[in-house]
Symmetry: C2
Subunit: 169 residues, 2 copies
Amino acid sequence: MNALTFESKPAWDTKDWQLLEALQQDARQGYAELGRKVQLSAPAVAERVKRLEEAGVITGYRAAINPKRLGYDIEAMIRLRCDGGTCARVGQLVVGIPEVLDCRRLAGEDSALLRVVAMSIAHLEDVLDRILKIHSSISTTTLIVLQTSHENRPLTLAMRNAAQLTQER
Amino acid sequence: MNALTFESKPAWDTKDWQLLEALQQDARQGYAELGRKVQLSAPAVAERVKRLEEAGVITGYRAAINPKRLGYDIEAMIRLRCDGGTCARVGQLVVGIPEVLDCRRLAGEDSALLRVVAMSIAHLEDVLDRILKIHSSISTTTLIVLQTSHENRPLTLAMRNAAQLTQER
DNA sequence: GCTGAAATATCCTGGTG
DNA sequence: CACCAGGATATTTCAGC
């Protein structure tokens, strides 16, 4: 039983990572085109992608929407502070507020962080009121997003390699 | 010249929204299947989707990845405070740090907010150091993500209708 | 926006190193 | 065990209406 025993699952090789990168950039390209990019046949690509899906690495394929073009001109991050019991259930508590696009529970100064969209300042106020109405222990800090310079940047092989170096030094 | 003049672009109708919802849930389904869901023929679906793409409503199709399954066990939000000139260029300044997945410039208590991933606490420390090295005026608050209860929740027609009510009351 | 045909892509089976 | 090759099936795309 040597070190390789623990590495019996060779994790993901370079081609898997290339497929991940390509699919993060454009999820609708066909297996044939992906195969051209990673130098593999279409069925081989299909098999690898299926493995990545089954392993839970790829969790789905989603269309990216620009909320501004649908009239949601305002995006804001809302920092939440609340008591323990309320925090623990933040997810359930905001599920009824569709303007809340992201919801994360945090360890640190803030209990949770929400990302919300709104069509106007009046609408944002309305959303904030609905959040505050959840529980009296909640207090919020609202920060308007001026610009989103990066969003959902793809995980890349280059990044993984750099991380390896950090681990090893 | 009546009110309808300004509404000459009928914005997006119910079927467009249904297509958007379907594509946010699964970007890989074919036009035929989409057509079945919204009660339209495949070519009609293709044309609407193309219009949504050209209007910038749909900005792309991306595979959703679970960073944990690739060894990135840690996710953190980093609040940034820095001087005006530095803030204005946050996007460019962090572009060289691939662990920074999201970067938003904010109006309010914090100047910017980053979402980062890391493989370990040591790796997170390394990322933080690289961020601090950008400029001496930067100070940070790091918040570890305990749980992501919602991420990129889809924009829905129901939501749009509710917002309309807010505007009108 | 619908129908029908041509081109293309996907999926499945089998075969090879 | 992973990859490639081929044919059956389904999908996209472009005509014409």
